[in-house]
């Protein structure tokens, strides 16, 4: 009987004279110093604008002093009317994000699963369709959306949430990739057939076998979709809907500090989402419970 292969193979080590242990590196990997320099440079590129933005939110006039007044002003009832568009826009954007995520979960994901299981030859076609929106400038897409949204407005009204249909399209490339990667990583056809041969219905196969194994991809797709929604400006602006981004532009004309505070908040939120995606991607299965 062969032994279990539970742990990683031990790395080969050699002992230097004097007892120091040296762990050999892959030849292709950069040295620690090179890696550190690259990380610092990249970190600075990202950090400088963020720090500048953060510093701006504390700035007092043009004399260089720092203050918390801009933050406290957010809670001041006197400014409620001024800032209300931002909160309305934020609410609209979150609703759009919710609907867009629903489109990803209930339209795109089933399409990808069915394509992988039943029509694998259509995978390239689906991929092409989903990737196309990233190759077309949003401004160009808007030109096509304007007549469509005249009809949408007649049917569903002109609520900001209707933007979810358009944003659902431009978020397709971002949602497609994580799902596709998760589908490719598992042998979906074999797992499905194994579950079916054990007596599972299609619903059970989907719920008990497929979705748990696609969880990381689905989560990543949803989070990326949310970040796309929260960063989308062009569509909302051209289609005359108030969202978080358009509201920020509006408020920025009267109070640039508050606009900067919200922008910073949105960036931090997006950063946290990406960190969460990364952590989910690395997580191992939990200690199991006894199913029997």
């Amino acid at each position: 009987m062969s032994a279990a292969v539970g742990s990683r193979p031990a790395r080969t080590t050699s002992t230097r004279p004097g007892g120091a242990t040296r762990v050999p590196r892959f030849g292709a990997a950069p040295s620690r110093v090179t890696a550190a320099i690259v990380l610092i440079v990249i970190g600075l590129v990202f950090a400088v604008p963020l720090v500048a933005l953060a510093q701006f939110t504390f700035r007092q006039g043009t004399d260089g002093g720092l203050t918390l007044a801009h933050y406290s002003a957010l809670a001041d009832p006197v400014n409620a009317a001024t800032y209300q568009p931002v909160f309305d826009g934020l609410g609209a954007s979150l609703l759009i994000a919710l609907i867009t995520v629903a489109i990803v979960l209930f339209v795109l994901l089933p399409a990808q699963i069915i394509t992988a299981l039943r029509y694998p030859r259509l995978r390239r076609v689906l991929e092409f369709v989903c990737i196309v929106p990233i190759t077309v400038p949003v401004v160009v897409l808007v030109v096509g959306f304007i007549p469509v949204y005249q009809v949408v407005a007649q049917v569903f009204g002109s609520g900001a949430w209707t933007l979810a249909f358009a944003i659902g399209i431009i978020s397709l490339p971002f949602a497609f990739r994580p799902n596709a990667a998760a589908i490719t990583a598992m042998d979906m056809a074999v797992l499905t057939e194994a579950a079916r041969s054990l007596g599972a219905s299609w619903w059970t196969v989907t719920w008990r076998v497929l979705l748990p194994n696609l969880r990381r991809g689905i989560t990543a797709a949803c989070f990326l979709t949310i970040t796309v929604v929260l960063g989308e400006y062009t569509l909302a602006s051209f289609l005359s809907r108030t969202t978080f981004q358009t509201a920020l532009v509006l408020v920025q004309q009267t109070d640039p500090y508050v606009a900067a505070i919200f922008s910073l908040g949105a960036l931090v939120f997006g950063f946290v989402l990406l960190v969460v995606i990364g952590r989910i991607g690395r997580r191992r299965p939990r200690t199991p419970k006894d199913p029997a």
Partner: protein, 356 residues
């Protein structure tokens, strides 16, 4: 190391079912994957479907499992036509070529899955899961995840998972092909032992003739979507009914001969011909390496190479007319490349095919 195999637990014992495929046809576009395949498997029998890639053996197994719809014919299990029964209602157990354990479940959860689908009470489920894992010597691995197991262990868990539900039929779709040689032999023998203990009707698809010869009660050699010949391993090896079977099962020397009545004359040696339907005239005779021997007098040639195969040795000889012949002989009889030798046929019956 000798491992004492535990007897199959009574909680897993199964009553073998009769399986019949009756004139089954399956097309993929213009390609006919199954061409009126008919096969009857008796209860508790271990039958292998053996053939080259594309011969339809996996399609036949998948049709039997319900994973492929058939275009014509009937599939019966214990006399009941199941051709229209969906896979989840056919009560079959299946082990796949690829590792098919659910990666997010432990070994215990994987094995319990089929029992959960059948709503087996928790206490009975627990007992049967442990019995099944005991049977494949993996009870100590119940709380591991598939990625913590070797390939052989994963396939043994897959076998336990397939058997724990006491299916009527066990289907094995090349379950050993992804494993290394030593594990393959070990698991092959374990599958056969468990199958014999449980008495479950088993269909085993393989392209590896050694595997099929080693474990099967009967082997169905498939070619172009139909069965070329079915019989015991000995029958197929010693009495192939066609050149295809002779060529595919075991190793054969293809030698020119002249068929006259029931005998074929090869290099002047007279040997019985197996296929009486071939007309007299020039033929190809399929002669096993063990039916050729070195001799003091015979057809002369030069040794090309000699391979040590443990208990036997096989030596390749280029005859004077450039025909290459493989001779199987004792290990102690060593021949070196370049040696001048003579060979003769021992006279065992041979399959023949018209020389076109």
């Amino acid at each position: 190391m000798t491992i004492t195999a535990p007897a199959a637990p009574s909680s897993l014992s199964s009553t073998g079912a009769t399986v019949e495929l009756d004139a089954v046809e399956k097309h993929y576009g213009a390609h006919r994957a199954l061409a009126g395949l008919s096969l009857r498997i008796e209860p508790g029998e271990f039958v292998s479907l053996l053939g080259p890639s594309g011969c339809g053996k996996t399609t036949a197994l998948r049709a039997l499992a319900g994973l492929e719809a058939i275009d014509a014919g009937a599939i019966r299990i214990d006399g009941q036509d199941v051709a229209a029964t969906p896979v989840d209602k056919r009560d079959i157990g299946m082990v796949f070529q690829q590792y098919s354990l659910f990666p997010h479940m432990t070994v215990r959860q994987n094995v319990a899955f089929g029992l959960e689908m059948r709503r087996v009470p928790a206490a009975a489920r627990r007992e049967r899961v442990i019995d099944a894992l005991d049977m494949v010597h993996l009870a100590d691995f119940a709380d591991r995840y598939p990625h913590q197991l070797s390939g052989g262990q994963q396939q043994r868990v897959a076998l336990a998972r397939a058997l724990v539900t006491r299916p009527r039929v066990l289907l094995l779709d090349e379950p050993l092909s992804a494993l290394d040689a030593k594990v393959r032999v070990s698991l092959r023998d374990e599958i056969r032992r468990i199958q014999s203990d449980l008495g479950i009707t088993t269909v085993f698809v393989t392209h590896d003739q050694e595997e099929a010869l080693a474990v099967s009660d009967r082997i169905a050699v498939m070619n172009a979507g139909d069965i070329e010949q079915i019989g015991t391993p000995e029958e197929l090896y010693r009495s192939p009914s066609s050149a295809f079977t002779a060529d595919f099962v075991g190793q054969s020397n293809r030698l020119r001969g002249d068929l006259r009545g029931d005998d074929v004359f090869v290099y002047g040696f007279r040997v019985p011909a197996l296929d009486g339907a071939v007309p007299d005239g020039p033929v190809l005779a399929y002669v096993r390496p063990e039916d050729v021997a070195f001799a003091a007098e015979g057809v002369t040639g030069t040794v090309v190479s000699s391979s040590f195969l443990g208990s036997i040795r096989r030596t390749t000889v280029r005859l004077d007319d450039d025909t290459v012949v493989t001779v199987q002989h004792e290990v102690g009889d060593r021949r070196a490349a370049g040696d001048a030798v003579a060979v003769r046929l021992l006279g065992a019956p041979v399959a023949v095919a018209p020389l076109t």
